[in-house]
């Protein structure tokens, strides 16, 4: 029964995608031009909603310097600010001591598929995943991929397995803002969500010629 429901669920989702969603905004909003909310007022709201969470959880939603700027500009940062963010975030990237950037693509494949970790429903034993498929297409055989990010199929092959490109990918995954200021992609290494080893395994998924991403 459960599986039936799950499959039914899938169909409903597919149905939703098929249904034409015309998005012409036609309503004339009757409200006056909205005023920006006062930061102190926002803090009070946050306190009332998240104030009972453990201190380490509350610390997580305290924006750092870069995120503060991203929030102020709703990610659309002017170029001077963007440069500052990229410099600041680049300084946070830690490269492997032995200089080897490619780990095991088979492990990387598991990490890319794993969307667990960081949710209040997880426990201490949960192994964090990269959740790459939530936003990216990677190997063609995997049809359940999201579209918030660009497709990464054939990523290493398209870049001729160039080590400089692999280093750039390591940087991107470690700290997406070190490449694109206010990227919507998580800062996996900088936020200590994935380990160095996990990131190397994912880089291998992108850059190992044997990886299904490059087949």
């Amino acid at each position: 029964m459960k599986t039936i429901l799950k499959t039914a669920a899938l169909v409903l989702v597919a149905g939703t995608i098929v249904l034409p969603l015309t998005a012409d905004a036609q309503t004339a909003p009757k409200q006056a031009a909205a005023k920006q909310a006062d930061p102190a007022v926002i803090d009070a709201y946050l306190k009332s909603t998240f104030g009972k969470a453990p201190p380490e959880w509350q610390a997580r939603i305290e924006p750092d310097e870069s995120l503060k700027t991203c929030n102020n500009f709703r990610n659309d940062v002017p170029s001077a600010e963007a440069d500052k963010i990229v410099q600041r975030e680049l300084a946070k990237v830690v490269f492997p001591a032995d200089g080897k950037l490619l780990g095991d693509w088979k492990e990387g494949k598991k990490i890319a598929n794993n969307g667990r970790g960081g949710q209040f429903s997880d426990n201490e034993k949960t192994v964090n995943g990269g959740n790459c498929y939530a936003c990216h297409q990677l190997e063609l055989a995997e049809v359940s991929y999201g579209t918030l990010g660009p497709s990464l199929t054939s990523y290493g092959k398209d870049r001729k397995f160039d080590p400089a490109e692999a280093k750039q990918a390591y940087t991107k995954i470690y700290n997406s803002h070190a490449v694109v200021a206010c990227s919507n992609m998580p800062r996996f290494g900088a936020n200590k969500f994935l380990t160095e080893k996990q990131i190397k395994d994912i880089v291998a998924l992108l850059f190992d010629p044997e990886s299904p991403v490059n087949k």
Partner: protein
């Protein structure tokens, strides 16, 4: 009778799946029609069972005052249900607060019925073998605004504050993945894995269709769910801390989303995956 109808709809789902697997993109117009019909057919939407239960709860005498909720003012006068949900959340002078439907119901339980709401809050989301008064009441009350347009109130300064804070929260990034609502809901036609994501950062049709379809019966969860549950689940996916039930940030987000959805038609409970 109702059960049999529900069963046949589930069978229809399975048939859909088969043709999906075989014919890939061969989602015929017929199947979409069937899906649409099912959404609007009370006989095949289990969410209407919650509406029925909510109706009983609404008139049941409870609490130290042995009173029913019929003395509860949802904004249009005590006991007035038609169209009340369409204008929520709104400012209530007696509580000196902007409240969404769930906050208001809790207030009425405490103040009109003299009910200790601890147990009601513990059962805010239903689970297997655990009914939720709140889900049932919301289904019943929201259904009384069917066919009406979302008409969120923004005239009172506190209501305007809610809309402004809700907007700021929608764009506020944080948590181990640096996510905001806007990460997932600020572009049209995007999806996470296979789940379609409505664009809610702009006023318009997608926001209207979204907000006009909650509360909804979630097939995957086998339960009627309210906007409080939806936002709780989105904050989970956002990797933020657990939001306190019926707290101000959730109401602020609801005001903001309803502002984006102004004029959208309410048709609830709907049914979703």
């Amino acid at each position: 009778m109702r059960r049999a109808a529900i069963g046949s709809v589930l069978t229809a789902f399975v048939l859909c799946t088969i043709s999906f697997n075989v014919g890939a993109q061969d989602a015929s117009e017929k199947e979409i029609e069937r899906y649409r019909a099912m959404i609007s057919d009370p006989m095949s939407n289990p969410g209407f069972l919650a509406v029925d239960r909510g109706e009983i709860l609404w008139s049941e005498k409870r609490g130290s005052k042995n009173a029913s909720l019929e003395g509860c003012d949802l904004g249009l006068g005590a006991g007035k249900l038609e169209g009340a949900f369409a204008k929520l959340p709104r400012f209530f002078a007696d509580a000196d607060k902007v409240m969404d439907l769930e906050q208001r119901l809790l207030w009425c339980m405490q103040n009109v019925q003299g009910l200790d709401t601890k147990d009601v809050i513990a059962r805010r989301f239903s689970g297997p073998g655990r009914a939720s008064d709140m889900e049932d009441l919301v289904a019943f009350i929201a259904n009384k605004s069917n066919g009406m347009k979302i008409d969120v109130q923004l005239g009172h300064p506190k209501e305007a504050e809610m809309a402004a804070v809700g907007e700021a929260l929608f764009f506020r990034r944080g948590g181990v993945m640096d996510f905001a609502c806007a990460t997932c809901h600020a572009e049209e036609g995007k999806r996470i894995r296979l789940q379609g994501l409505p664009e809610l950062s702009k006023a318009g049709k997608q926001a209207q269709e979204t907000m006009g379809s909650w509360p909804t019966y979630r097939v995957s969860q086998g339960a009627l769910r309210t906007m409080q549950h939806r936002l709780w689940d989105c904050y989970r996916q956002q990797r933020w801390p657990v939001p306190e039930y019926a707290s101000d940030s959730l109401t602020a987000l609801t005001v903001f989303l309803n502002k984006q959805a102004l004029g959208g038609e309410i048709n609830v409970p709907s049914i979703k995956r």
